[in-house]
Amino acid sequence: MEIIHNLAFGFGHALTLHNLMFCAIGCVVGTFVGLLPGLGPLATISLLLPLTFSIDTGGALIMLAGIYYGAQYGDSVSAITMKIPHASSIVACIDGYQMTLKGKTGLALFTAGVSSFIGGTVAIVVLAALAPALGEVALKFGPADYTALMLFGFVCVSFVTTGSLLDGLAMCMVGVLLGQIGTDVNSGVARYTLGLPFLMDGVGLVSVALGCFGIAEITKNLDSREERTPFSGKIKLMPTWPEFKRIIPSALRGSVVGSFLGILPGGGPVIAQFAAYAIDRKVSKYKDEIGTGAIEGVAGQAAADEAAARTSFIPLMSIGIPENAVMALMMGAFIIKGIQPGPNMIAQHPDLFWGLVASMWIGNCFLLILNVPMVRYLLSIFKIPYVVLFPAILFFCCVGTYSVNNSLEDVFVTAAFGLMGYVMLRLSLDPAPLMLGFILGPMLEENFRRSLLLSRGSFTVFMARPISGTLMSLIALFVVWQMTVFVRDVRKARRLAPA
């Protein structure tokens, strides 16, 4: 009963006309800015943070949360329609873009919107019920456990890639290596910077993402020299009932997976999307269609993404540890407003905490109301001929990379990754695992080195601890299972084609 009481308390705060307005403004502005290819949630929040300085604390935080969710949805729209993703929508590129190619953009966008709503709703229940207690679980995670968790994430990737398991793992490693560029946090040594000062901070996530996905994709489209106009007639927005029924189960699966993974520091939306997609590929009724533009491929990951984005507030608000760059920025916003996120926050500022929780849900409703009618206009972008569209996309990519650090060097870096992305595309290597490796690489190294330091160089530490031990055995089980599947397939192929 305490949950209901707390939530009612929160809604009482969030539903004032004043806060409602900030929530709506945040969502709308966030969606529009997030829509621009090249500007993800991180860039959007940092751009719009100054807007909130003049607003009172409660309203400002609510508006920031609205911007965050809006940006994230806007992001998945650019991923689905143009295959230009950011960290929060890498998986949306796979099936979402396939659906666009089939002319089902409207359905894909609707699915993404509804699934995020489902994911967000489930996560809010989890957040309200467990936030105070779940923070403690995160405290139990030691370095070895984080290492195992991230390795587990890499193995999950093998489900996601369009190529083979080995290709996926190899691309993960390439990503981890790219993540090594920059200053080593332990020793302060500058690694692989080629003596260039702007590489001291490492290469930007935005540069890698835009290069490997956006620019490589543009070049591929130019190679095929086709005038892409998939939409000539009316665009069907609303799904049919059988289509709608397909959204629900995978959205629910994604919500549960996302809510859980979002809580774990180092987990967060990125792993959650991949994990949800992987699960759908194994258990969904339509698993054979996933990867070729299936509703499930969009629904599960969108729900997981949204759920994890919400529950990733838990470590920030309960133990004061931001688990990714976006949360770090949110933490900055909290501190600017004079609030120290941490175990005392719920006790000291219950109105802020529960008000924020409630406004997340209200923000979700706004997104749904806004986006369903807006989708029709978003699609008009495809009425523009590609020869006009692609210079504009290149321009947005340039502005997006530039405005992260206001540095033109980043544009060169993006161009370089565009070349790499194109080479990988032609070698049929999937860049999605590379992104995962790139994001998790630095955390993996830090925790790996720390666990070996604590265990005095003994690798048994990864087996001995209950959490990491369990994850490691899951990985081992998984590898054995994949090998049996592989051997079985080879035998079957030999039997069918004796040569």
């Binding site: 751009l47 490693m173 080479v423 049929s428 290597l429």
Partner: protein, 140 residues
């Protein structure tokens, strides 16, 4: 050398060698006190094994053709690099014009009038970004 599987293995192995050799320039340390070179060396060794394995395996598989259009990717790279260079040395408006006029060389048709319109619209959008969103674009 037109086999995609072989090139894939060689590409991965090459990335591994670049990072692996680079790692040896940093302090490797030892297992209980890893230096900055330890982790990249470890990961690139694994990657090298994978890449080399794929290259060897490709010799036993049917070769797949690889398609590579040097012209288009070169045009796109050039237009991006030119955008950055022009924005740095002149201003971003000239960068935008350069980007549009060069990148469209890779398109199916080329029209100076159309490019002028695209550039004008993009410059206008850039102004909206600068004034409306407060992006620090060095437009002029």
């Amino acid at each position: 050398m037109k086999d995609r599987n072989l090139l894939k293995g060689l590409f991965l192995a090459a990335v591994a060698v670049i990072f692996g050799v680079g790692a040896t320039r940093y302090d490797i340390g030892h297992v209980e006190r890893a230096g900055p070179g330890f982790f990249p060396l470890m990961v690139s060794s694994f990657l090298f094994l994978l890449g080399a394995g794929m290259a060897v395996r490709s010799r036993f598989m049917k070769p797949e053709a690889i398609y590579f259009n040097v012209k288009n990717i070169a045009i796109i790279m050039g237009s991006l690099a030119g955008f950055a260079a022009f924005s740095h040395y002149v201003n971003m408006i000239s960068g935008i014009v350069f980007l549009v006029f060069v990148s469209t060389l890779a398109g199916t048709s080329y029209s100076i009038r159309r490019n002028a319109i695209i550039s004008a619209v993009l410059v206008a959008i850039a102004f909206v970004f600068q004034r409306g969103l407060g992006l620090q674009l060095p437009l002029y």
